[in-house]
Every structure is written in C-alpha cells, then in structure tokens.
Amino acid sequence: MRLKFDSVIDALLPVFATFAALGVGAIMLMALQVSPVEAYSALWEGAFGSKNAIAETLVKATPLLLVGLGICIAFRANVINIGAEGQMIIGGLMATQVGLVFTDLPGWVVIIMAIFAGFLGGAIWGGIPGALKAYFGVNEILSTVMMNAIAVQIMNFMLRGPMMDPAQLEKASKIPQTARLAEAFRLPRLVPTRLHLGFVFAIALAVLVYVLLWRTTLGYRIRAVGQNPHASRYGGIRVRRRIVTALLLSGAFAGIAGAIQVYGVNYRMITDGSSTGFTGGAGFNGIVAALFGQLHPIGTIPASIFFGALLVGANKMQRVVQIPAALITALNGLVVIFVVSSELWRRRRQKQRLLVDEGGEPPPSESPKTEKGASASEEVMA
C-alpha cells in the first residue's frame, strides 16, 4: 500500500517541481510589476487556449520529441550528445536535396526518401564523434559541439552556393535559401491547422525507441555499456562499437527532426547564419525534454509537449503582459533546474526506502571504495 503511494509521489515529483519553478518565476514577474496570474493565464491561453494554439504546441513539440528520442539512446549509453543542432542541420540539408532533385517522383516516395536522407545525414554527423570517442578517446561533448559549428557553416555555404534558390540567384536580394518544395512533397496536415503528420510519426518512433531499448539485444547492449562497460565487455559486448552505434542512432533521430522540420513546417531551408535560425533551438531543448522525461522515450512525449507549450505560450505571454523575451528563457531554465533537482531527490527517497526494506542495513558490498555509478543526467548537469 505504502509502496503504491510512494510511487505516485515519485511520478508527480516533476510536476511539483514545475509548479515550484513557476512560483519562483512569479516572484520575478512581480519584480517587473507584472501580475503573475495574468502572465500565466496568458501562457496557458497561448499554449492550449484554442485549436490553433494546441496545434502550434504540438508542432513545436515534434522536433523536441525526435531530438529527445535520440538523446534517450545516447544518454542511456552514457554518451553525452550535445550535437543535435548540427545533426538536425545536416539531416535537413540532405532531406531538402532529395526533394529538390527527385521532382518527378510521387510525393509519398519522396517523403520516405527524405526522411531516410535525414536519418542518414544525422547518423553521419553523430557517428563521426562516436567513432572519435570510441577509438581515439576524444571527449564527445567537445566534438559534438564542434560538429555543430561545422554544420552551420556547411549550411551557410550550401544555401548561398550550390543549393541556393535559382530565383534568388537572379534577384539582387540573394536570400540564402533553397527553392520551395513541391506541394506534393509536403507532409499532410492533420486538421485544418499547421499540425502535420510528423507529430504522429514522432509518437510512433517513440514507441519504436522504447522497443529498441528494452526489447532488443542492441538496446540491451546500449544500456549495458552505459551502466558498466567492464561487465559489458565480460558479457561479450563490443563496447566501442556500441558507443558508436548509440551516437550514430542519436544523431539519426536528430537528422529526422531536421527532415521533418523542412517537410512539415518550412518547406525549404533558409538560414539566418546561425543554427537556431533553422532548428529553433530544438537541438538543445530536446536534451532538456529527454531529461524531463527521465530519459525514457515514452516519458519524453509529454515532456516535449510540455516544453513545446512553454515555448509557444511564452510568445503570447510576452505580447500580453509586455515583458522582455529574456524572462522566458529564464523561466525555461528555472523549470529545468527544479526538475533535475527533483530527480536527485527522488533517487534519494528510493535509496532510503530500500534501506528501510532491508531493515536499515545497506548492502554489505557497498564499501566506501565502490565507484559511484553516476548517471548520465547527473553527469551532464555537473
């Protein structure tokens, strides 16, 4: 009985944490002489107030979810992928190219090919740092961040050069963008809003990632490598290869996010010179969503929607109560800090419960020397 109650509390902890964060945010709003009630109701209104608002939230959530799924895979292998921005860009570029080249093929064929191209592009961009880590010991946090910078420059080059819209070439404006994709290639819309099929596709992939991680030998290996490389080796798992696989798959999902962004929302690639111009920061926010979802692909679904709502609702809030955009970023950050901290708290509660169950005795094997198995989320936040 008590156990059931405890697990309900555990599940609700992130929700409590979110409210706590909004509470601190309220203090900040009051400091700006804005009514928190008014601000937060605007936020809610903006995110869920109408059919269009909900659709926008889900559209925003889609790349977060896709990136987050990749993050789940990488972090489960204890590999920290900060390169989803770059992986999205390369995936987006390759997917766009498919749509610009194969103009004669039927729409659904091109869409499938484009998603595959996105997968491939992201996989390459994730696989390179993976191989560098596994075989040369290069820190993947550094290399994935660096790969982001390279990807941005490749995008800028391609959109100003080889992939530039022929129409722009003739004009003097020379906006760095590709031609628009043919109408037939666009992802179908679900309801008369901007919500597109990509969202449903992402949900399906979340289930697929769940199956991958917990129902296949590959998933078993990825998780084993992340938890204990020594025992993995002993278990016949080729640790280096699985590190590459994890980063490669992680990148691939970000690459799909890039492809979906082009085929579902923008219908072309356009650059303002930065990565966020294309990704909207999904490459970073996806990490947060995955952590919020406790690195579980199914948990990442509501987490992505939550952050999507926060992003969309914040726009409305900014318009209604006239506050600086920076506050929205701060609010986002607050939520992350509170939720990640609550995760540590939850773990401590769990440990205590175990001690109680065992009659107050810690497992004797737990000597002070035993190395601490720091989880990915702890490590990345440290």
Partner: protein, 515 residues
C-alpha cells in the same frame, strides 16, 4: 623542546604511536576487532593480511578517515583523538595512498602547496615552496624538480612527490599503502633506499604489502591481521621467510573434506607459456603453463596481486596475451574476444564481481543473461525473448536460493552473498566445459561459502574442468585435486592433493620453487 627529538626536516619526532583495542563495526561486519598496534621512531612496521583482513580499516582509522567504534590512540604516551585527515597531519601522521592524490596538470611545487595557506595571502608563494622542496629533497635524497609537471613524471617520481608532500606537511610517521604495487623492480630498489634513509633519520613507517620478500628485506617488525583481528606481532630478525609464510597461512586446516573419487577426464583447457602485462604494461604473468582436466578442480593458490587476476582475464579474452597459447580442447582461443570465449562454453566468475560480473542497475533477470543475451533461447533475430528470460531467471532464483523480492529487483541492491549466487547461477547453469572461479567465496559468510563450494563440487562431478583461484589456503586445500602456486606471475609448482601441506604451499607462495 630539545634538538634531540627533531627530525632533519625540522619537525618533531614521533617516538611512539600506539593504537589500543581498536574496534570498527560496519553494519553486519566487524572490520576491526580489538586490535593493538604500535610504531616507534626509526622502524618499519609491516602490516600483513589477506584482502579484507582489516589493514585498510585500521589505517583509515589512524589517518582520521574512519571513526573507531572503540579504542584509543596514544601519541608519545599521550591520548589523542583523530577525527579528520587534517587532525592526522597536524599530529605528524602522513599517508601515501596506493592511488596517488596528485593533480596531473600542475607542477610539483603547485601540488605540494595545494590546500595549504600561502605566506603571501591571496598570492602564491611557490618560490618559497620550491626552495623548501629542494631542501627536503636534499635531506632525504629524493631527486625531484619542483617545476616539473606531474604528467611528465614516472610513477616512481610521482610517488616521491607524494612523500615530499607528506614531509612538507610535517609528517613524522608515514603510512605506506602498498607502495610497491605500482613500481618496477628498479623503482622498488630506489624506493627502499629512500625508506631506509627516512628510518635512519628517525621517522616511523607503516608498510602495507602482500610481498613477503619485501617485508623480509625492509621491515623491522611485522603484524599479521586476519578477519579483522590481530594474529600477532613478531620481529623480522627472529623469523625466517618460510616461517613468516607458514605463520600467515598456517592456521589449522579446519575443513578437511574427502573429495569424491572421480576419474579424471581428458584435458579441457591447456595454457602454454602464457604471458601478459598488467595495466602499467609490466609483465604480470610470465610463461605460465597449466593443464586443467575434465572433472578436476585445479586450485591456484597465491597471495593476491601475484598475477592471478591477469591470468584469469587473459584466458577469458579480457586481457591481451603477449605470448603463448590457450587451447580449449583442440580449439585455439588465444586472444579470442570475450564473446567468442563465452560461446565456446568457458565460464568465468570474476574476482571483482560488482565491477566485472554484473550490472548494478540492471534487474536480476537481465543480469542472469548477461553472457547470453544475444543467443537463443534468450534472443531471436535481434529481439530479446523476455518471457524466456523471465522464466529462466525465476528458475535460477529458486534453484540457487537467491534471496530477492522479485526477478525485477535491481541486482545492485542485493547482499554480497546473493550477488555471488546470481553470478554463480549464470555461469554454472550453462553447463560449461571449463569454469574459472576467481576468489569465489571472498567476502561471503559461512553459509554462502559452503553453498558455493557445494556447487563447485557438483560441477566437478559433472565433468567440468575447474580452475579455482583463491588466496584462502583452507579453501584451496579442501576442494582441489591439484594445487598450483603462483608467485610474482610465475607458477612455483603443482602439488597433488595428497602431498599438499600448508607449510609446503606457504613456502611456494613466498616464492620458493616447489621441487
């Protein structure tokens, strides 16, 4: 204070340090049981005992890292309390850890100054520190460049930095925790010269080592611990190496057990002239040749740290073999991948089961198939057969009497004995051709130990070729058909069960040839 009780470093000498009636209880474990221990100025006092005998616990209490449950510490006859390492340092007690506590990207002088107040307030006083380092280095014959970066130094030199660090902080008494384990033979010789110099100058040294010849070579007295309790203290001058070996291992063999007569089958595993290195790329196993036959237990006795772990890892594919061959029946498995070795039905119970043998955050069910998670019946076409895995682990939990709420319980929450049962169940249930069991009962209570022994004998009956690595001589003598003794990476000889006596094995463990 007179000049006589000063050390050359300028600090006050510790004439005597005494630990009286030290007891340390951990939940369910008596790590230290009413131990008396003392060191005097100008002597090296060795602390000897098997892993888990309580050496580290005792030293951690002396260095203020653990609080004793009972007992007192006297310095020069006066009672003191040591609550933190800082207290220990202030009393003139220093410790050189087995794993160095140095910042690689800083210089020697910076490492020495780390954590100490500077004479110039917020600014560093590295020139002063360097001068003092050179002064100390001169007194004790420690050649070291204060400007050198740690990463540029060899392990031997890094150890000298640790010693200087302790001397700089005023250490009169030094605890040396297995200082020679990481050194090459040449570095060991140099290190002994430094130790002798320090002793001659009036320092007291506590020397922890598994190597008997080193203890005979450098120490004045030796104290032996077993199961947390003190066995005794002797003067090295009054004891020969073989006596020391006997004393260490020569308890009454309490578990005489008649081994069932089994006809020995053909050779299952043959190891030919095998050599491999340790982590520091020093030779750990040298030209070892062994045959293990179907239906026998070959005991591999030896003081731990003499190449047993490396030998087991090189056979099972976890460590690169630099010379020689390993044959499993007629298949060459030299440097085969661990997965290949598993597939050929060689099972391995690793020594560090928490680190190498299981994944703490995985469920018991997942751990039960760690070695076979990719092959039928537990996986087909890349998918795990969860139902099969579940029924398999339920079966093993029942058969091996693993105490757990369910198969979904995280393995890391089990007790040591139950964890070993999980590993044992996994390795034995495959009906392996060869089983290598490294320290299979270390840290287990009497009941669990008995259970593991029964299982090993059951395997022997089934015709498995078993190599049992153990530093517990009782265990080796009780279960083995033949006993090989390893010392510093070499097999000193193989003794038949009938001919084995603790005295004979003890001598071989100390490095004397069995012939």
């Amino acid at each position: 204070m007179t000049e006589e009780n000063k050390l050359p470093s300028g600090h006050t000498r510790i004439d005597s340090l005494e630990m009286r009636g030290i007891t340390k209880r951990f939940p369910g474990v008596l790590a230290s049981d009413n131990v008396n221990f003392d060191v005097k100025s100008g002597e090296v006092h060795a602390l000897l005992g098997e892993n888990g005998a309580g050496k580290s616990t005792l030293m951690k209490i002396l260095y203020g890292m653990y609080e004793p449950s009972e007992g007192e510490i006297f310095l020069n006859g006066k009672k003191i309390t040591i609550d933190t390492p800082t207290d220990a340092i202030n009393h003139g007690i220093g410790m050189i850890h087995q794993h160095f506590m140095l910042v690689e990207t800083l210089t020697v002088a910076e490492n020495v100054a780390l954590g100490l107040p500077s004479s110039r307030g917020f600014l560093t006083d590295l020139d002063k520190v360097s001068a003092r380092i050179l002064e100390l280095a001169d007194i004790y014959g420690l050649e070291i460049d204060p400007e050198a970066y740690i990463w540029q130094l060899s392990v031997g030199q890094q150890q000298r930095v640790e010693i200087i660090k302790a001397l700089y902080r005023g250490a009169a008494l030094l605890i040396l925790d297995e200082p020679t384990a990481v050194l090459t033979p040449q570095e060991v010789d140099e290190f002994f010269v430094i130790m002798r110099q320090m002793v001659a100058d009036g320092h007291g040294l506590i020397f922890i080592s598994h190597k008997l010849h080193e203890i005979m070579n450098i120490c004045d007295r030796v104290t032996i611990l077993r199961d947390g309790a003190k066995v005794g203290t002797r003067n090295i001058a009054d004891i020969t190496k073989s006596e020391l070996a006997n004393w260490m291992v020569g308890r009454e063999v309490s578990m005489t057990r008649e081994l069932e007569e089994i006809e020995r089958g053909p050779s299952r595993l043959s190891i030919e002239n095998l050599s491999c290195d340790n982590e520091r790329e020093l030779p750990a196993v040298k030209n070892v040749s062994l045959n293990i036959y179907s239906g026998e237990i070959l005991g591999l006795a030896g003081i731990s740290g003499n190449g047993q772990r490396e030998l087991a890892e090189s056979i099972t594919g976890l460590r690169e073999i630099t010379g020689g061959k390993v044959l499993l029946e007629d298949e060459d498995i030299t440097n085969a991948r661990p997965g290949e070795v598993t597939k050929r039905m060689l099972s391995y119970i690793p020594e560090e089961r928490m680190r190498d043998g299981m994944i703490k955050d995985f469920s018991i069910a997942e751990n039960m198939v760690l070695r076979e998670h990719h092959i039928p019946p537990f996986a087909e076409k890349g998918f795990l057969k969860l139902k099969k895995i579940a029924s398999h682990s339920d079966e093993l939990i029942k058969k091996f009497r693993v105490k757990t709420p369910s198969r979904e319980t995280k393995a890391g929450t089990l007790s040591g004995g139950n964890i070993q049962k999980v590993v044992l169940a996994r390795e034995i249930s495959r009906n392996p051709r060869v089983l290598i069991a490294a320290q299979p009962t270390r840290g287990l209570d009497v009941g669990a130990t008995e259970y593991v022994h029964e299982q090993l004998l059951e395997q022997r009956r089934d015709g498995t070729a078993i190599m049992m690595i153990s530093e517990d001589l009782d265990e080796v003598m009780a279960l083995s058909d033949r006993i090989a003794v390893i010392c510093e990476g070499e097999i000193m000889g193989i003794v038949e069960r009938a001919d084995a006596t603790p005295q004979k094995l003890g001598l071989m463990m100390a490095g004397e040839s069995g012939e």
